[in-house]
């Protein structure tokens, strides 16, 4: 049985980690969660991101949600804010892409060009 005592232990561990890290030094990942995002598959993307962050023990990475980002046809949209404040917008993200974003961008520090909205629009313009 899952118990609240178990949750209290998780709390102790998380509180310690909060004291060590400086929140502003980590990555922030934002997922669009309006009707357009939800319909396109944003819920499993959010949950995959949280699971990957937990599995890899990335204690300085925050995963959050936002409403409609105005590009409904390109949902699910995921934005990554790097520690220096730079923003990368990824579009048409599904759980497989989400895993790669964690691996290559968050851990590896390398933007995945072909997943970005910029790349998508450039390709469309050709």
């Amino acid at each position: 049985m899952k118990s609240l005592e178990e949750l209290a232990k998780i709390r102790e561990k998380a509180a310690k980690e909060m004291n060590i890290r400086n929140e502003t030094h980590g990555y922030r990942i934002v997922v669009g969660m309006a009707t357009c995002g939800i319909t396109a598959g944003a819920r499993p993307v959010l949950n995959t991101l949280v699971e990957e962050v937990q599995k890899r023990n990335l204690t300085d990475v925050k995963v959050t949600q936002v409403g409609c980002m105005g590009e409904c046809a390109l949902e699910p949209i995921v934005e990554v804010y790097s520690p220096d404040g730079a923003r990368t917008t990824y579009c048409l993200v599904h759980p497989e892409e989400a895993k790669r974003i964690i691996e290559e961008h968050i851990i590896g520090g390398k933007i995945i060009e072909e997943f970005t909205m910029e790349y998508y629009h450039r390709k469309q313009a050709k």
Partner: protein
């Protein structure tokens, strides 16, 4: 959308963004009565009669990023397709109450789908709105309330990944117990 739990997430996102303190979901599967009831309540800013009349219209939305609001019309259509309906009551400054009903034996009834991920997504909301979720299956009930969780967590955020994974297992277990 092919899961009821996605409709629920979509509708409850409205509550989360309506300055509510608490958003509540009650799913009642009354197999004897052949009736599925999805109750959604919040204590948010509510809607006046004019807005209430227009929310069923897909071309009505309060958002500014686009011109169409599909959440409520889609859910209403789903309820009616399954021999039920959607009733919305709302009072400005007090909150909103939606009750969707569906016949459990309707051939058009969508599967509930991943209700656990819907609750987790809501629990992780950025507006710090508390979520209470009650699931009743033939009288047996499971209750999940983020206020209880936050009491234990103290100042640790509820969207801490370790906490989210714990909540996930907690809800799965609770739902199995009423099966």
């Amino acid at each position: 959308m092919n899961e009821l739990s996605l409709y629920i997430l979509d509708i409850m996102e409205n509550s989360v963004h309506a300055d509510a303190k608490t958003a509540e979901l009650i799913i009642d599967e009354a197999i004897q009565k052949n009736l599925l009831t999805i109750d959604i309540l919040d204590d948010g800013r509510g809607m006046d009669k004019d807005i209430l009349k227009r929310v069923y219209n897909p071309f009505y939305t309060t958002r500014t990023t686009r011109k169409v609001g599909l959440g409520i019309p889609l859910f209403k259509e789903q309820c009616e397709l399954c021999g039920g309906d959607l009733v919305i009551e709302s009072t400005v400054g007090k909150g909103t109450h939606l009750v969707g009903t569906m016949k459990l034996d309707s051939v058009d009834l969508l599967p509930m789908g991943n209700i656990v991920d819907t609750i987790l997504t809501l629990a992780m909301n950025e507006m710090n709105v508390d979520i209470k979720y009650t699931h009743i299956r033939d009288g047996k009930r499971f209750i999940f309330d983020t206020r209880e969780i936050k009491k234990v967590l103290n100042n640790v955020p509820i969207n801490t990944p370790d906490v989210v994974i714990w909540m996930k297992e907690y809800i799965i277990e609770g739902l199995n117990n009423i099966n």
